[in-house]
């Protein structure tokens, strides 16, 4: 009952803000505060004992089921916390953007939908809330309602619709294999014994992958995330893409965490590793070239989701030893949500005071925004993985997982480890660039308004507090939440695998410092040489490529349409001609009581009779051709086609 209540509260809030005239009370804040309290106190017991399940008492083919196990509770609390923070931040910011009422309603509906996704007990309930989430968050993307926002919105909507349909088909396939609705969190494993189950899993991965920004399906993400108003972008990047990752973890459940080698999904883990690495690289390379701060952050969301996907892939690939990968992923999801939200909110503060997100037009802002500069420094260090902040903790776990896989000596995994380090350097470089261009460097010539928005800084401060806490006590969250979650998903030895890792050993610390310094050097080199201004040729970007493919297709399509049209009109003309001729012949026959058709002369016979005779002759020939009774006459192959009838 509590689970349904949690979903209903934001919807009541949405209705309330829909009908309230003035904006004296901050409805999203109150609602998300209530939800946050209820989740932390009401669902805390899930980590210790049994999961909660609730079925809505309905009959029929679809009974929405809700369920909270440790994994979903992690996500639910994370969502409630982020919404709380953003709703502290949003009122001041939305005064600048306008249309705050629509924004509030969408924010609350999205909260309800997100909670629904995390607490769904079967795949169809999950899909229901997933689609609702897409629709509600679409209004964030199109908030500004200009050409740019609409284009971004179209990207978002079409990718999401396609994803939703693909998910539906995946659910159908899994349901066929399992013989019922695929339930979540009950440990029902789909053994890979038929094509159907393999395709089902693959389709689900694609469907959730679109939401998670998995390369090459990430094209919508930078557009959508940079077009939304900042609180919206923060939640899109902070939480909504994690919904895709959550889905992937649940799909992994069908593949069987911790027992992959038996269930036959080794290839699946490997595939996820490769996709994860590609996503990391694409995101970080594209991010280095961006000049718009919000787009840079959006591409970093892609790259960081690559870490998560890589971790999941490793979890599946390593089988029963894969605890590190899975736990690293879950941990990184939480951490990324915190620092990415903080970064977006920080950029938002700069944006409403300067009206600019182009990094090359900003600079030297630390004098004017000292507190924001400090908070942003913390967040940027967090995402680059500096020790003492939360990014370090989860990246270390993931790094250990990669090293463990690399020890097996497979060339792919060895390269995965090397690329892991490269992406780390790239991340450090692009955030050094962001920070340098925004807060250090030459002071900007832009006119700066001084909005003393304390609530906005409080919001980021709250995030920074949690980040520092996690960074200083990396084991706290792991022990309380992540280990039970992994254990519940099927990795019973999760705690043991983590026990070997010490977060404060010199090797990891040193490598992180080296990464940071290398990143700063790369950034310096890039800024000096102007590489960051490089415009990628169209054929190298996915968008350009898909555009070219689309143009090719539409050209082919046009040719096809013209051919078809010509063929149809030719047939029509021919048949018209034949009919006219027939009428002429008939008239001639009627007049003369006979006549000539070609070289055959007929007398004393009507044209209709002649037609009938002709038809009969054709039929006889047809039948003798397709039913040869003569010995030795072999039917031509194309004739067998007609024999179907």
């Amino acid at each position: 009952m509590l689970l349904v209540l949690l979903i209903i509260i934001p919807i009541i809030g949405a209705l309330f803000s829909c009908f309230s005239r003035n904006r004296t009370i901050n409805v999203p804040f109150i609602t998300s505060a209530i939800v946050f309290m209820m989740t932390t106190f009401g669902l805390k017991g899930v980590f210790m004992g049994e999961p909660i399940t609730y079925r809505i008492p309905l009959s029929g083919p679809f009974v929405p089921t809700f369920r909270a196990d440790p994994l979903s509770v992690i996500f639910v609390i994370l969502a409630a916390f982020l919404w709380l923070v953003v709703s502290i931040y949003a009122p001041k910011y939305m005064k600048h953007e306008g249309k705050y009422k629509l924004f509030d309603i969408c924010t609350l509906v999205t909260l309800a939908a997100v909670l629904g996704v995390f607490m769904a007990g079967d795949m169809l309930t999950l899909l229901l809330f997933f689609e609702l989430m897409t629709l509600a968050s679409y209004f964030w993307v199109i908030h500004q309602w200009n050409r740019n926002a609409i284009k971004a919105g179209n990207f978002y909507l079409f990718y999401s619709i396609t994803g939703g349909l693909i998910l539906a088909l995946g659910i159908v396939l899994l349901g066929t294999v399992l013989g019922g609705l695929p339930a979540i969190g009950t440990g029902s494993i789909v053994y890979l014994d038929s094509k159907v189950s393999g395709w089902g899993i693959a389709l689900l991965v694609v469907g959730f992958g679109i939401k998670a920004g998995m390369a090459p399906l990430h094209i919508w993400l930078p557009h959508a995330h940079s077009a939304a108003p900042t609180p919206g972008s923060a939640l899109l990047s902070g939480l909504l893409i994690k919904v895709g990752a959550y889905g992937l973890i649940r799909v992994g459940e069908f593949a069987g965490w911790g027992m992959v080698l038996e269930s036959g999904y080794g290839w699946f883990g490997l595939l996820l590793v490769v996709v994860g690495i590609c996503t990391m690289l694409t995101g970080v390379l594209a991010a280095l070239l961006q000049s718009n701060a919000k787009r840079l952050l959006a591409y970093h969301s892609v790259s960081q989701m690559g870490y998560v996907i890589l971790g999941l892939g490793l979890g599946l690939y390593l089988g029963s030893e894969g605890g590190l990968g899975l736990m690293g992923s879950i941990y990184h999801i939480v951490n990324h949500a915190l620092f990415k939200t903080a970064l977006f909110l920080g950029v938002g503060i700069i944006y409403i005071n300067t009206g600019e997100t182009n990094l090359y037009k900003l600079g030297g802002l630390w004098r004017r925004f000292p507190i924001t500069a400090v908070l942003m420094l913390l967040a940027a260090l967090g995402i680059t993985g500096a020790p003492g902040l939360n990014g370090y903790a989860s990246k270390t776990v993931l790094h250990h997982a990669v090293s463990m896989a690399a020890e097996s000596g497979t060339p792919l995994m060895v390269w995965a480890e090397r690329l892991f380090v490269v992406v780390g350097i790239g991340t450090a470089a692009s955030f050094a660039k962001l920070y340098y261009l925004m807060f250090l460097g030459k002071p900007t010539k832009l006119k700066i308004s001084n909005n003393r928005a304390l609530s906005m800084k409080w919001a980021i401060g709250l995030l920074a507090l949690v980040m520092v806490t996690i960074g200083l006590f990396p084991r706290l969250l792991l022990n309380v939440a992540v280990i039970p979650a992994a254990g519940y998903l099927g990795l019973k030895n999760a705690a043991d695998t983590l026990a070997h890792i010490s977060f404060w050993n010199s090797k990891d610390l040193l490598s992180m410092f080296v990464t940071l310094i290398a990143g700063v050097l790369v950034c310096w080199a890039g800024l000096r040489s102007g590489v960051f201004h490089w415009n990628i040729p169209a054929w190298l970007t996915l968008e350009g490529l898909s555009n070219m493919v689309r143009q090719g297709f539409s050209a082919l399509w046009r040719i096809g349409v013209v051919l078809c049209r010509n063929a149809v009109s030719a047939i029509a003309a021919a048949s018209k001609k034949a009919v006219t001729k027939l009428f002429l012949v008939e008239r001639r026959f009627k007049k003369a009581g006979g006549g000539r058709i070609g070289w055959v002369t007929l007398t004393g016979i009507g044209a209709d009779a002649a037609l009938l005779i002709g038809a009969l002759v054709i039929l006889i020939v047809w039948y003798t051709l397709i039913n040869p009774s003569l010995p030795g006459v072999k039917l031509p192959t194309f004739m067998t086609l007609f024999k179907i009838f």
Partner: protein, 480 residues
């Protein structure tokens, strides 16, 4: 039994009553029409409940040596319920749409008579009755198609008659052949042709599919449907998106499950071809729809595509596929009629029938555009809307029936449907804000009310498909 007779004759009597009131004012006529529609709904509900309860409601007789019978089974009951319920909505919408238009008496007369004929098709118990009402439906809707009397409408009317009568001719030949092979035309004793065998059955099935396919607008035989959009909007909405095309689809469901039986059809070779024709219709219809500029024509081509979903469900020959077909029949009709209603409101309010001229109308007609957007999402098949369930079970059926490419066709069609509608909706909210008289003018309130009600119903069914599931379940149990 009385229920059955009353349900069938309600529309007919109502039509005659309206015809005999030449001087009646709008108000009295509206009351008469709604009274008879509601009566029909009540009695068809009573019939349907009896049928679902397992009772037999049978009415039989003989004309000229041919025995006919009315003996609804669950499938017929579901179709009858859809038709009679939506008729009321269309009637209410017509009160708004037709007020101030010419020749309303003829309009409402034939409007009600065709309700009777549709219910006749639905409740028929053998092929003779089915054929009879099927033909009568064509004739009773012809006056509605040419209601505008413009040259375009008359031409559309001729096309309508020629196409549909040729189709009916094919069906008649099929019925004769069936009778000569089986000696019996009743649906109620299981599949008519269950005992037959031979290659000729392939041809017979093709003949039936071609015959009923004219009304359900399978791709080479679809040309009459877009041109019949010359009719007034409520007629296009009801007849050419729901009742007439559904009677074609219903005929094919009947042929597959009552005349041949799914086991026999499964053994026929022609099953290798028909699903592909249907898949072609599904994709080509919606692709052509994207290119149409006149909104009603766009909706018409989309109808062509969506009616084939039902046929696809019929030809999966699986319980889930049949469930999907029936579910799609129920859910799709409500949403499609909503879309047509919206097109009608837009045309009446702003005079704009072309998609290219729709900039800014969203601000003038917010309620209409919201309903339109919901309908459009329904066409895509997104989850909070009822059409998802039809699509879901159709996909399940095609996977289990071993024709998995059809599942991909359904997905593709969903995406192209999005391409078809979403740019339109965005366009409606762009550009200059169109100022106009408020949407809630009395006449438009009457038009908007059924539209919004139907959207709400679709969302409810989408969230709780259990509402309509007993009907679907009954149909599936009946045939499998």
């Amino acid at each position: 039994l009385l229920d059955l007779i009353l349900a069938l004759s309600g529309g007919l009597i109502g039509g005659l009553v309206v015809a005999m009131m030449p001087r009646a004012g709008n108000r009295i006529r509206s009351i008469t029409v709604s009274a008879f529609s509601i009566l029909t709904i009540v009695f068809s509900w009573r019939v349907a409940l009896k049928v679902f309860g397992g009772e037999s409601v049978r009415l039989a007789g003989e004309i000229g040596g041919l025995s006919w019978s009315l003996d609804p089974d669950p499938l017929g009951a579901v179709f009858g319920l859809i038709a009679s319920t939506l008729w009321l909505f269309a009637a209410v919408y017509s009160f708004g749409y037709m007020s101030g238009k010419h020749n309303q008496r003829a309009y409402y007369t034939f409007f009600l008579i065709s309700l009777s004929m549709t219910l006749g098709v639905a409740f028929s118990g053998n092929l003779v009755a089915l054929y009879l009402f099927y033909e009568l439906l064509t004739f009773s809707t012809y006056p509605l198609v040419i209601h505008e009397r413009s040259p375009e409408a008359v031409k559309a009317g001729s096309k309508y008659i020629i196409y549909n009568l040729s189709g009916a001719g094919a069906i008649l030949i099929g019925i004769v052949v069936t009778y000569s092979w089986a000696g019996n035309l009743n649906f109620s004793y299981g599949p008519i042709l269950a005992e037959s065998q031979g290659q000729g059955l392939n041809w017979l099935l093709l003949l039936f599919v071609a015959g009923f396919g004219v009304k359900s607008a399978i791709m080479p035989l679809h040309r009459w449907l877009p041109s019949a959009m010359a009719a007034p909007t409520p007629v296009s909405a009801l007849l050419h998106a729901v009742a007439v095309v559904y009677s074609g689809a219903y005929g094919i469901l009947r042929v597959v499950y009552s005349v041949f039986g799914h086991e026999l059809v499964r053994s026929l070779n022609i099953l290798n071809i028909i699903p592909w024709i249907i898949a072609f219709t599904i994709l080509a219809g919606v692709i052509i729809a994207v290119k149409q500029d006149v909104l009603k024509r766009r909706l018409a081509y989309q109808t062509i595509s969506h009616i084939s979903y039902i046929l696809l469900g019929a030809f999966t020959l699986q319980p889930w596929g049949l469930a999907g077909a029936v579910m799609h029949m129920i859910c799709y009709s409500a949403l499609k009629i909503t879309l047509f209603f919206c097109a009608g409101i837009i045309a009446e309010k702003t005079g704009q029938i072309k998609v290219s001229g729709m900039e800014g109308i969203g601000w003038a007609l917010p309620g209409t555009m919201v309903a339109f957007s919901i309908g459009a999402l329904g066409m895509v098949g997104m989850l909070p809307l009822s059409t998802f369930w039809g699509k879901y079970y159709l996909m399940k059926g095609s996977i289990e029936g071993g024709i998995w490419p059809m599942a991909l066709v359904l997905i593709g069609s969903g995406i192209i449907n999005a391409v078809c509608f979403i740019p339109l909706i965005i366009k409606a909210f762009r550009g200059k804000r169109l100022q106009s008289t408020p949407e809630m003018e009395s006449r438009f309130t009457v038009m908007l009310a059924p539209t919004l009600t139907l959207t709400a119903v679709s969302i409810i069914i989408g969230l709780i498909p259990g509402v309509v599931w007993p009907g679907v379940q009954a149909v599936v149990d009946w045939f499998f």
